[in-house]
């Protein structure tokens, strides 16, 4: 029977695609397929994308690095998904969901008749199993934190084979957004290794393709170490277009490992890859010069959600042997000193020299493109060396005859800024800041370090004075920012591991962030989050610098390409992408 179905599909999808590797299954009557509203495309083709480094794993529960998540995102699907274009939640594997009045109980109805990419059925048991994995403390999933609300993990109950009930310990704003990116895992493949405590070592890059199955538009075909990873169409994918063609249109999706951004640019220029994203404004101008002649199109989508900032080391160093840095903390801890630095930095210069104008200057933690949450009333003071000098003077600093800034004890103000040497933009920002602050009489040294060395110093050893870092970019909602602003948060970079807030304003931020998390009304939440942004801007724990634009490019013949500001910018609708044939005939699906 199954074979007969295959044959029928073969006949239906006739024409050029007769010999394609895996053809989509025709929708069955009992399948509750999601119909997309994209332009109807045609089957076939291989999409090639470059990645700077290899994924470390294919395990959706343990993956933490961006390359792994980019590949895994195409292999798996979630219950409720954030539409990258509209930034709103929409049903995915869940057909629908209801929320109780107090905002604590979510009842999720699953689509009927869905199958994993190996043909096995998907139901509520798989959902329960997946959440068990994400919540297991022994597995250390990076998503676990999000699933712990009010100190208690989310409670997951099966109501019937196609209904699951989630109960939260306390109301949680925009709770449906936490389902985004939580991959639903096949219980039939992983229950055994999980029972044997071997889950963490499953689904590595060398796992045979047959042992990996997901609900994403593609499934693993081949991994060539050091070269590429090849995905092929998932013939059981649960989306179809208006004309009932099962998605995706593409036969294959290839991730090439190219090493660095310049190599990525050259490969795109040479036509080896079809899409380029996350590249610098300089390379953008370079590529856009010949875009027309090479049949490519480049898009500047406007500011991303990422924020780059200068952070001073305010960590408690009493247990560390870093007395030199501890002595300088007397300056860093003074908000006036930080405000003076902020006031002296030429943000327009950074936008111009570092990003060739494809960025916006930043004075707060929320990017202006995050329109729902940005505090529009936040002041944007222009660069003023006079104001900076006034602030320093009022904080007890003075100037020596040669212009060098001295502190109260008569010590010259001198510190180093570490920045990742692999991130050309951050090193450039450091050089500009060095020049800006030298005009205040501060002696600043730029120390480019390997990225891992920077991370180690900032997160572990605290052996640094100031650093240029970047954060954000995941979601537009304030909740993923909890660990940045809560004084006990894991990314509370300026002072990690505070057992209780050290300053008054940090205590206030803690309270506001807690309140906004349980507040369900958008207007109230916005009001609370505005106050957080104001406190942050007034006390400058981070000296915000700039938010770069999202720049992407693609071959012109790639249709349905709708890049978005949210990550993944280009491949979020990969199932809808298709190639328009070179002879220019109108795009039609082979029926």
């Amino acid at each position: 029977m199954h074979r007969l179905g295959c044959l029928a599909t073969l006949l239906l999808a006739s024409g050029l695609n007769c010999f394609a590797s895996s053809l989509p299954q025709t929708p069955q009557r009992d399948e509750e397929i999601l119909t997309t509203d994209n332009a109807v495309g045609r089957y076939g083709g291989t999409l090639v994308v470059a990645q700077r480094s290899e994924p470390k794993t294919l395990n959706p529960v343990t993956a933490a690095d961006a390359p792994s998540r980019e590949v895994i995102g195409r292999l798996t699907a979630d219950l409720i998904h954030i539409n990258r274009a509209s930034q709103q939640t929409e049903p995915a594997l869940a057909k629908s969901w209801t929320v109780s009045k107090d905002g604590r109980v979510f009842t999720v109805k699953l689509r009927h008749g869905l199958r994993f990419s190996d043909g096995q059925p998907f139901d509520a048991d798989d959902v329960l199993f997946s959440f068990k994995l994400f919540l297991d403390e022994k597995i250390h999933s990076p998503q676990r934190d999000l699933l712990v609300v009010g100190g208690k993990p989310i409670d997951v109950q099966k109501v019937d084979p196609y209904t699951v009930r989630f109960t939260l310990a306390q109301p949680y704003a925009a709770a449906e957004r936490i389902f985004d990116g939580l991959a639903m895992m096949p219980r039939h493949l992983l229950d055994k290794p999980y029972g044997e405590d071997k889950f963490a070592s499953t689904w590595t890059l060398t796992t045979p393709a047959a042992e990996i199955a997901g609900l994403g538009p593609f499934r693993l075909k081949e991994y060539v170490p050091g070269q590429k990873i090849v995905l092929e169409r998932n013939p059981y994918y649960w989306k179809a277009d208006r004309s009932k063609n099962r998605l995706p249109y593409l036969d294959e999706l290839v991730f090439l490992f190219v090493g660095n951004e310049d190599a990525q640019t050259i490969r795109f220029q040479a036509g080896d890859t079809d899409i380029i994203s996350r590249f610098s404004a300089e390379n953008y101008s370079l590529l856009s010069k010949e875009a027309a002649s090479r049949g490519t199109e480049l898009f500047d989508l406007g500011p991303s959600l990422e924020y780059n900032f200068l952070v001073f080391n305010l960590n408690d160093l009493s247990s560390k042997n870093l007395s030199k840095i501890a002595a300088k903390q007397a300056w860093f801890q003074d908000p006036k000193f930080r405000l003076a630095v902020s006031s002296a930095i030429d943000r327009e210069g950074i936008v111009k020299l570092v990003y060739s104008g494809r960025a916006v200057p930043l004075w707060g933690n929320v990017s202006p493109s995050n329109k729902a949450w940005v505090d529009a009333t936040l002041p944007h003071p222009p660069r003023s060396l006079d104001k900076a000098r006034e602030l320093l003077k009022s904080a007890g600093f003075s100037w020596r005859g040669d212009g060098q800034l001295m502190d109260r004890q008569g010590q010259p103000v001198e510190f180093s800024v570490i920045a990742s040497s692999s991130n050309a933009q951050r090193s450039k920002m450091a050089t500009i800041i060095q020049d800006d602050l030298s005009q205040l009489g501060m002696d600043v040294h730029v120390v480019p370090l390997e990225f891992r060395a920077v991370v180690d110093r900032v997160f572990q050893s605290f052996d640094y004075e100031a650093s240029i870092m970047g954060l954000g970019g995941g979601d537009a909602d304030p909740n993923p920012e909890m660990n940045v602003w809560m004084s006990n948060g894991g990314t509370h970079l300026w002072h990690l591991g505070e057992s209780k807030p050290v300053t008054e304003w940090e205590a206030q931020i803690d309270q506001l962030m807690q309140k906004q998390m349980v507040q369900l009304k958008y207007k109230e939440r916005k009001h609370l989050y505005d106050q957080v942004q104001e406190l942050v801007a007034a006390n400058v724990p981070y000296v915000f610098l700039a938010t770069p634009d999202i720049l992407v490019g693609a071959k012109k013949k790639l249709a349905n390409f709708k890049p978005a500001i949210l990550d993944p910018n280009t491949l979020w609708n990969v199932e809808q992408l298709y190639f328009v044939p070179a002879n220019g005939s109108p795009p039609r699906a082979t029926q």
Partner: protein, 351 residues
């Protein structure tokens, strides 16, 4: 006979030309402050990657000017790092203008620069870099670091080399044996990787002077092996000469023997070695700076200037960023032809 005469005169003339060129380059680097129109660290944030300012003699109205002039660069609207000349006003090039302070040869403070133009225009002889810093001034100042590093490292290396080579050749036996094995070890060691490892252990920030001293010490110390082996060979043959034995017979001390009778034999070789080593060490400094082991921003050095070319878009878009390489080629070829001439002279003397 005749042909060898003409060959020696043409090579002599070539030698003079090369020496003059080398001397000019060194003078230019020594008097960088005077020749450079701008402070090498001064950023002009309105002019990133501005191309070299063309010198004009005929203005937009067709009038001829005897004094060359330039036009102000203005950024093309809706573009970045693309410029056009604003033809509204000419800015004549002026000589002996007052500008930012500097020290002549690092000693005497001065404000006079050889040439310049009136503000707001700026003269960029070889364009600007990413921060709008004048590339011409940076190459001159960068030369101070790179060439001085080459010269000082050569001195260190030759001093160490002749000391060890001389002792090793003179005393022989186990001293010779161990010194020469050590020399071989130094010759085969992959130094670049070791230096990367060493940098990781150094404190985060070391001052530019410290970095510079560290750099020349490292480059100079590593290079002692080759001159030491050459010196040892000469010492070996010289110490068996009859006049050395005679001097020893009259009761001369070892130090006297080495200084008066043996070391003078090595001067020719040392001079050739010096001319060979200087460009090699300038290149070593450039290599280290290129990989970020040299002086940190904003201090220029040729390797640091060339490091910008690691970025693909700079490599293909801004040709004037290659200019430091040209300076490097001139200096290296200059020294190498001087070394060649020394070598030929030595051979003709010995034959």
């Amino acid at each position: 006979m005749l042909s060898s005469m003409t060959r020696s005169t043409t090579s002599g003339r070539k030698m003079i030309a090369v020496s003059v060129l080398l001397a000019l380059v060194h003078l230019a680097i020594l008097f960088a402050g005077f020749l450079a129109p701008a402070d090498p660290a001064a950023q002009n944030r309105d002019f990133p990657f501005a191309p070299p300012s063309p010198l004009h003699f005929i203005d937009a109205r067709g009038h001829l000017h005897l004094r060359p002039f330039i036009y102000l660069w203005t950024a093309r609207p809706d573009s970045f790092n693309e410029y056009e000349e604003s033809r509204e006003r000419e800015y004549p090039v002026q000589f002996f203008v007052a500008g930012t302070g500097y020290k002549i040869a690092g000693l005497f403070p001065s404000h006079t620069h050889l040439f310049g133009v009136e503000g707001p225009a700026r003269i960029f002889m070889i364009g600007t870099d990413n921060y709008g810093r004048d590339q011409f001034s940076r190459i001159l100042y960068g030369g101070q670091i790179s060439v001085a590093a080459g010269l000082l490292a050569t001195v260190i290396s030759l001093a160490l080399g002749s000391l060890i080579g001389c002792i090793s050749g003179f005393y022989g036996k186990w001293i010779d044996e161990s010194a020469m094995r050590l020399a071989e070890l130094f010759l085969v060691f992959p130094w670049l990787y070791l230096l990367f490892a060493v940098r990781a252990f150094l404190p985060l920030h070391i001052s530019p002077t410290q970095t510079f001293l560290l750099l020349i010490t490292v480059i100079g110390t590593i290079g002692w092996a080759r001159p030491a082996r050459l010196v040892r060979g000469i010492v070996l043959s010289a110490k068996n000469q009859a006049y050395v034995a005679a001097s020893r017979g009259f009761g001369a001390s070892d130090v006297h023997l080495m200084r008066r009778h043996i070391l003078p034999h090595t001067y020719g070789v040392l001079l050739t070695q010096a001319a060979l080593l200087v460009p090699q060490y300038v290149l070593a400094e450039v290599t280290l700076s290129f990989f970020g082991l040299g002086l940190s921003e904003p201090n220029p050095s040729w390797g640091g200037l060339l490091a910008t070319l690691q970025q693909y878009n700079v490599l293909v878009s801004y040709w004037w960023m290659f200019a430091p390489a040209l300076a490097l080629v001139v200096v290296s070829l200059g020294y190498l032809s001087v070394a060649n001439a020394f070598h030929e002279r030595l051979q003709s003397v010995s034959s």
